[in-house]
């Protein structure tokens, strides 16, 4: 049984209510932080914990906090990123839905550390019932003295408000999110300046993911050093993984980052194996933007070692032979799935979500969708594969925000590892409409100890 720090109490009956949450030890981190620690000490503990941002990029949270500018007389803000729209990702929703006070508690401590008196939760508009849950939790926290004026007699004031989005994946990108919070279209800004210097309304702003801010609670309670002892290397603490696709037990799991990918997929404690007795074909381990891997590269690293569910191991081998932890959206494809079709749905997603500011992204995502649709529906040409490769290369690295890369990588990885499946589609336009390419050789053992390219 892995160690749980965030979801341990999520199943306690009535934990959504303040009284139960408090009885179970809730809000102790606020007491500890406000009574025993200075804002800088809190930031230090978060630094020591090694906590990496859980929204996808994995940037060290404590370091981000220490970058926040503190110009005299200018208010600072903390914004919680609850936009959660990366396909395969539904962990933040789970946390907010089942244990909302944990997020509120984390927000209070984090706001105190950063000096934010006005903190926002930017939540995707579709999660409307969760907004009600959070609003209730905020109301309860306030009436019990954890929010409002002069919290715990420290003189610290704080309000937390929910800002409801309205359907735009791009608003999860932090600068687009800030534009949206200002009441504008979600067009990413050019960085620098970074939000920590000029964020919402030109004020210094820290944007962190829901899970990142919730993790501040156990960090304060146990201390950064203790937290850092969980996990390995730079993958400290626990991570929420939302698992979906062709598995027996889809859902949200909290793992400590020492479990192998194989155990995560096949053990009864987690995914419970591939559904319907099928075989594993491929997996996108960290949300739709990260590279898809065939079964053989997924379970073992380029060095032939067992692949572990953590930042380092998932990215071992680079993009040639590895993937990424990303947002923890774990998408499993069984032997009956078509990689071409799956990639096409992702390309359509990115085309739909491109904000249109940069031409490589705007035009490139449209072309990729079109070409993939042609291949999928039996109208592709052999030259289309190289054309796709070429288009994704031209997007990657040539755009204002990382959505361009996020659109390019899934296509690149699909071609890199599943080229023969694309070719089969093109060479067998009729057959590919009635059956799938299947498992092919994707689960075959690889030659061990191949150096990463």
């Amino acid at each position: 049984m892995g160690r749980k720090l965030l979801l341990e109490k999520a199943q306690v009956e009535g934990i959504r209510n303040y009284d139960v949450y408090r009885r179970e030890g809730g809000y102790r981190s606020v007491e500890k932080a406000f009574k025993e620690m200075s804002p800088d000490q809190i930031t230090d503990e978060v630094k020591k914990s090694g906590l990496r941002g859980r929204g996808g990029a994995g940037f060290p949270a404590g370091m981000k906090w220490s970058f926040i500018a503190k110009p005299e007389g200018v208010p600072r803000h903390l914004v919680c990123n609850a936009d959660e729209s990366e396909p395969g990702t539904f962990k933040d929703r789970f946390l907010m839905e089942f244990i909302p006070h944990l997020l509120i508690e984390g927000l209070i401590v984090s706001s105190y550390a950063l000096g934010s008196h006005l903190t926002y939760i930017y939540i995707r508009g579709e999660y409307s019932w969760i907004i009600d849950i959070l609003e209730t939790a905020i109301g309860e926290a306030k009436s019990n003295g954890w929010l409002g004026e002069n919290i715990l007699g420290t003189g610290f004031n704080l309000e937390i408000y929910i800002h409801r989005g309205a359907g735009a994946y791009i608003c999860g990108e932090e600068t687009a999110l800030l534009e949206s919070l200002e009441g504008k279209r979600g067009l990413p800004r050019i960085k620098p300046p970074f939000p920590a210097v000029k964020g919402v309304w030109d004020r210094p702003t820290v944007v962190n993911n829901v899970e990142t801010l919730a993790a501040v609670v156990p960090i304060i309670l146990m201390g950064g050093e203790e937290y850092a002892k969980i996990g390995v290397g730079k993958s400290t603490g626990t991570k929420l993984i939302s698992a979906c696709g062709n598995i027996n037990k889809p859902g949200v799991y909290e793992i400590d980052m020492t479990i192998s990918v194989e155990d995560f997929i096949y053990s009864d404690e987690y995914c419970g194996g591939i559904a319907n007795g099928k075989k594993l074909k491929a997996c996108i381990p960290g949300g739709s933007s990260v590279p898809i891997l065939p079964a053989n590269l997924l379970l073992k690293t380029a060095k032939g070692e067992k692949r572990i569910m953590n930042y380092e191991s998932l990215s071992d081998g680079g993009f040639a032979k590895g993937s990424m932890m990303g947002s923890g959206g774990f998408i499993v494809l069984d032997e009956d799935q078509c990689v071409v079709k799956h990639t096409y749905t992702l390309a359509r997603f990115y085309r739909h979500e491109s904000c249109g500011q940069c031409s490589p992204c705007r035009e490139g995502t449209g072309w990729m969708e079109k070409i993939l649709k042609n291949i999928e529906t039996g109208k592709g040409k052999m030259s289309d594969i190289d054309l796709l490769w070429d288009i994704q290369r031209r997007i990657e690295g040539n755009t204002i925000c990382p959505l361009g890369d996020a659109a390019a990588w899934p296509v690149a990885a699909a071609i890199r590892h599943f080229r023969d499946e694309f070719e089969w589609h093109i060479l067998n336009p009729e057959e590919s409409q009635i059956r799938n390419y299947g498992l092919a050789h994707y689960a075959d053992p690889l030659e061990p100890a191949v150096a990463a390219v």
């Binding site: 729209s85 006005l118 409801r164 979600g186 939302s242 696709g245 739709s288 959206g329 359509r348």
Partner: protein, 167 residues
């Protein structure tokens, strides 16, 4: 200006504006548009958007710009019940295509259309953060997950029943 909102709704707008610093009332545009859309049959007419602009003391064009950017705002009338079925990869591998087809056949409408009785609109949407409970759709405020043909039938019957009871 003719008031589209009731006094209660206007009070809510005032409250929403108070969530943002002085002079930053434009920030309330997304939540106020949600309120406006819910208030006017699930879509935003030019008149409604102009009204929102007046409430927030901004130009109408600032509202149009924003409203057309975000996919949750409907720019044309929709049915009383909008089925928003997710079609992205993780839902697709769990059978969203068949669900979309089944709804089209059952209601005799295509994606983007509204049934002739004005009750149902079918939309396809991209990942709604319910990938582990696929296939799924959003219906009003809530998600309907683990969809099957039988569940779709039951949801349609449920909508018809509620609508008949309210008439």
């Amino acid at each position: 200006m003719t008031n589209i909102f009731s006094p209660e709704k206007l009070a809510r707008v005032k409250e929403l504006i108070s969530h943002y610093p002085e002079g930053k009332q434009k920030s309330a545009i997304l939540p106020v548009l949600h309120l406006a859309q819910d208030n006017s049959g699930g879509w935003l007419s030019t008149e409604t958007m102009d009204y929102v602009a007046e409430l927030l003391h901004i130009l109408p064009v600032e509202v149009y710009e924003v409203a057309t950017f975000y996919s949750m705002y409907n720019m044309k009338p929709v049915g009383k019940y909008v089925f928003e079925v997710c079609q992205t990869g993780p839902c697709m591998i769990n059978g969203s295509d068949e669900i979309i087809q089944y709804i089209q056949d059952t209601l005799n409408i295509k994606v983007g259309e509204t049934s002739s009785d004005g009750l149902f609109t079918l939309k396809t949407v991209e990942c709604l953060g319910a990938c582990g409970y696929a296939p799924m759709m959003q219906l009003g405020k809530f998600y309907r997950e683990h969809l099957t043909k039988e569940k779709v039938d039951a949801i349609i019957a449920e909508c018809r029943k509620i609508s008949a009871a309210n008439n």
